[in-house]
Every structure is written in C-alpha cells, then in structure tokens.
C-alpha cells in the first residue's frame, strides 16, 4: 500500500484547561477523500488550523508527503501543495474575481513576485485563472469585485483559488455551508471529478455530501477521534449514533 500523503500522530492542543485536540491520529491516503465529522465545537477547524500551520500544536507530529512539517510556516506548507479553504470565506474583497484566482496561479508560477511587468494584464495568468473559474461556474462573474459576490459564489471562488494552487492535499472546512442546492450539487460533482487525483480532508455537515464522497470518515467528538471507518460502518457505529448522528436520523 502507498504511504499516506498526510499522517497526523498524537496531535494535542489545549486552550487553557480545555483540550480541543486530544491525541488525534489520522492518515489521509494520496487517492482518498477522508471526511471528518463531528458536532460544532468538536475541534475540526482547530485540527485543520494545525495541519496548515495557522496554529501551533502543543504536541504530536505532522508528516506530509514524507516530510516533517510541524515547524514549517503556513506559506511553505501551501507551496508544497498543502492547500486549504476556510470555514469563514477568505478572499481579497477589493480585487476582482479573476484577480483573486490569478493571485493563486501567480503563486506557483515562475517569478511570483516580479516587480515590473503588469500582472493584471498577464494573459498567461488570466487564461489559467479563467479555466479554474469555469470549473466552479464563476467564469461569467470574472470582472466583478469579489466583495460583491453572493455568499455561495464566494465559497466557489475559494475553491477555485485552492484548485489553482495545484494541491496534492486539499483541506476543505465546511465548503458547502451556506451554499444553495444547485451550488452544492455543482461542488459535489466537481469534488467527485478530482477524487483520486487530489487527496482531500473534508470537514462537512452535509451528510449526503460526506457519504457520497468520502472513502473514510473520522468522527471527532470533544477533540477526540471516536471512530474511523468507511461511511457505511460509521453510520452503524452505536457510539457515533449516540454522540453525533442521533438515532433514527440516518
């Protein structure tokens, strides 16, 4: 079997006396969509923050692509293809939709910080950015200032920016939250399309999405992984039903 693209071992994080990440261990395989579910406040976002370098864990190890990344800054991890989206959308509101994605394309292009040539008229960057915008259904909105997008459109823009970084592992923090039905369907099929090519760690409350996409599901409750199995098995796990899904709900 191949090595995992991400290997989290014994990760710990405390806020004062509260243990938000309690000896969490999980693997994401290179061709896998690994879902993380759990009630609000379970520590899902905090876990992603630690994997991306946004937060420093109190203990444990993080190995990505065969490399210990625990001490690398966030931007280095992003450059290695460890890419995330945010639960609370994070875009550059005053730039256009196209410029937002072009910034992502630019980041992995040759000479990303060129001081002289006009970036906004860089055809190569813009053309590539448009391809990603097309994939998330935002191509027609490319010249709109990003802050004028609807909530769902902003979420889609974030996905486009993430894809433009050519991720090896994509960490998605509730990407469907606040999306309309059509937008959710579009994102589902988009993620389905990349399944197998990009490894994903998917935090999501939409159970239909989780059960249709995920190869494995880890259940996080109070900072602890209480189960990790295929969607079908997790659905039947009595502890999971009690802690999270709620009997009769599924």
């Amino acid at each position: 079997m191949a090595d995992p693209i991400l290997s989290v071992r014994n990760l710990q994080k405390h806020y004062g006396a509260i243990c938000v990440t309690n000896h969490v261990s999980l693997d994401v395989m290179p061709d896998e969509i690994h879902a993380v579910i759990g009630p609000n406040g379970a520590g899902k976002t905090t876990l992603i923050h630690q994997i991306t370098g946004h937060l420093k864990p109190d203990g444990g190890s993080l190995v990505y692509d065969g490399q210990n990344i625990a001490n690398l800054p966030m931007q280095r991890r992003a450059r290695m293809g460890l890419v995330r989206t945010f639960q609370i959308t994070s875009i550059v509101g005053s730039l256009t939709v196209l410029d937002n994605v072009a910034l992502a394309v630019q980041s992995i292009a040759h000479n990303p910080l060129d001081l002289w040539a006009n970036a906004y008229q860089d055809k190569a960057l813009n053309d590539q950015a448009l391809v990603y915008l097309d994939q998330v259904g935002l191509a027609e909105r490319h010249s709109v200032e990003a802050r004028h997008l609807s909530h769902g459109e902003k979420r889609a823009l974030e996905i486009a920016m993430a894809l433009a970084l050519k991720p090896k592992l994509l960490l998605l923090d509730e990407p469907m939250a606040g999306m309309g039905h059509d937008e959710t369907q579009r994102l589902l099929s988009l993620l389905q399309r990349f399944k197998g090519q990009i490894a994903m760690l998917l935090v999501e409350h939409d159970m239909d999405a989780v059960f249709s996409l995920a190869d494995r599901v880890s259940v996080l409750v109070d900072g602890e992984v209480i189960a990790c199995a295929t969607p079908a098995l997790v659905r039947q796990d009595p502890r999971v039903r009690a802690a999270y899904l709620g009997d009769g709900d599924v």
């Binding site: 994070s90 509101g93 005053s94 730039l95 910080l113 001081l115 002289w116 970036a119």
Partner: protein
C-alpha cells in the same frame, strides 16, 4: 458601479500623473513670465516632500502599513548628504546613492522588527524608531547638534556646481519625482504589488496562497525608504541646511496628512496632496499666526467629506459625468 478604493488602487490613474508632470514642467517658464521668482524654490521644496509622500503611499496606501516614522528617512538621507558635503566628499555621484543606500538599510533593519507587529503597535514602533533618529541627530555635536548644520555648498556633479542653478535643481527634482512616480506605478501593478495590496486586505488569505507576507512587506518598506532617502538628498541640497527637525514626528504626521489628503493609495494623489497641504500651509500662515487652528480642522473636514481625498473626488466627478452622458 463605482469601483472601490481597493480596485482603483490596483490600477493607478496615469492621466492625472501626466497632467501634473506637464504643469510642473512649465512652472519655471510661468515664473519667469509672471515675475514670480519665488515659485521655483517653493515648488522645488513641495516636490521634494511630494516624493517623500509618494514613497510613504507605497507602504501606507498600498501596503496598509501606517508608518509614523517616515520623516526619519528624510532626515537620514539629508544628514548623510550633509555630512558628506561637510567632510568634503560632496559629489552627487557619491551623496545620492549613499543617501539612498543608508536609508534602505535603515528601513530594512527597522522593518525586520516593526513588520512583526500590527496595528497600533506598528504605529508606535515606527514612531519610536523615528524619534530615535531625531534624538541621534540632536546629539551629533560635530554636525550642529540641536541647531542643525549649515552646509558650505550644494553637492557638485563631477566637480561642477551645476546644482547651484535653481532651474537645473528644479528640473532634477522634477525628474526624480516623475521617475519615482513611474516606478511606483509599475510596482503597484506588478505581481509584487498585487500581493502587497492583497495582504493589506487579507493577510491570512495571502499566506494561505503561499506568499511570505512579511518578506513582501519588508521589500516594499525598503524600497519606500530608499525613495525617502532620495528626497532627503534633495532637501539637504535645496535648503543647504540639515536639522533634527527634518526627522521630527510632526513631519511624519505631515506626510501622512499629505497622503490622506491626496487619497490613500492613489500615488499621484500623494503628489497632489503634498501641493495642497503645503500651499494651504503657505497661504494660511501668511494670513494669521494661529494658522494651525484653521488648518487642522480644515483637513479633517475635507477628508471626511471627500471619502478618500482629492483622487477619489476626481474619480467620482469623472463617474458622474460618464453617467450623465450614458
């Protein structure tokens, strides 16, 4: 739809910059024709501060970093030039690059510390570094201490006293200003500038995209410091005098006012803001001794009502006209 300030800043307007440059190029001629000979030195001085304000606009307007110690860089540039002239090394080919280099180094080293902080802390740290230079200048007894240093002459160019000619010096200053304006406009529209602007709006997003925001800001801060050093070189030569007051926090505040007055991040607006500020100061101080009492509120009222300074006013007027036609 009226573009937001951020979108406008990504695409600085060239028209007003060219217009400003053309008008300024004609000032010496106008002063000869009208007999207003004081226009040339006055405009020279204003252009020097416009250059400093422009350099501040790169970090403040585009980078979103409210540096409250920018005058210190003018001071360092001026003292570097002043000391070199006093010590007999006063050739432009040495003074000019060295003033810029010393300022770039100072900006780089202080930036290493200051740019680790955010918000009010950043303002206070840059202010503290500025005051450090102010007091350091005061303690340079060999070079006049408190009283400042009167220079024996202006810098030479290859041994010739070209810069003594007011008109030559005027055009040298104008060329420096326009070159810097052009350079900053290019930088703002470059990949680097887009990252700098993006980080102003959303630092975490830019970091998540793989950019080292600290390094980007440090580079912008250093470039800005270098340009302020150039204005210091020009100021020392123009006034034939250097003084700790060049580096005072009040001067830093004036520069911020100029940038705000012109419209934060609009670049040419910093130049226009410097002219508005200094001409207003000149006019009001002729009227009454307590001109600052009028000046302060006047600026605050203006900034509140124009919602983004002179440049924004122009954009809005332009849009109104456009809508009227359509």
């Amino acid at each position: 739809m009226i573009p937001s300030a951020g979108a406008a800043q990504a695409h600085p307007m060239q028209g007003p910059a060219i217009f400003l440059g053309s008008v300024l190029a004609l000032i010496p001629l106008a002063s000869v024709l009208t007999g207003q000979s004081h226009w040339v030195p006055l405009c020279t001085q204003i252009m020097i501060f416009a250059l400093a304000a422009l350099s501040l606009d790169l970090v403040l307007g585009i980078g979103g970093l409210v540096s409250f110690g920018h005058a210190a860089l003018i001071g360092i540039g001026a003292y570097t030039t002043g000391i070199l002239i006093k010590e007999g090394w006063g050739d432009t080919l040495l003074c000019l690059p060295l003033s810029m280099l010393v300022c770039a180094c100072f900006a780089y080293v202080t930036g290493l510390v200051a740019l680790k902080t955010r918000g009010v802390t950043f303002i206070m740290i840059t202010l503290a570094f500025g005051q450090m230079i102010y007091f350091a200048a005061q303690s340079l007894y060999r070079y006049g201490g408190d009283d400042g240093l009167t220079l024996p002459k202006r810098a030479t160019v290859l041994g010739q006293a070209f810069l003594n000619n007011k008109i030559v010096f005027y055009y040298l200053t104008l060329i420096c200003l326009l070159l810097c304006l052009f350079a900053v406009m290019r930088i703002v529209q470059s990949r680097f500038g887009r990252v700098l602007l993006g980080a102003r709006d959303n630092e975490i997003r830019m970091t998540a995209l793989g950019y080292d925001v600290f390094r980007v800001r440090l580079k912008a801060y250093t470039i800005s410091g270098m340009m302020a050093g150039l204005s210091g070189f020009l100021l020392a030569n123009q006034t034939e005098f250097v003084s700790p007051a060049f580096a005072s926090w009040q001067r830093s505040g004036d520069l911020i006012f100029m940038v705000i007055l012109g419209g934060v991040g609009s670049l040419w607006g910093a130049v226009a803001g410097a002219f508005a500020f200094m001409l207003l100061e000149e006019g009001l101080s002729g009227l009454t001794e307590n001109w600052k009492v009028i000046f302060g509120p006047l600026i605050i009222v203006f900034v509140l009502f124009s919602q983004g300074g002179l440049s924004r006013l122009l954009v809005l007027l332009h849009k109104d006209r456009g809508q009227g036609h359509g």
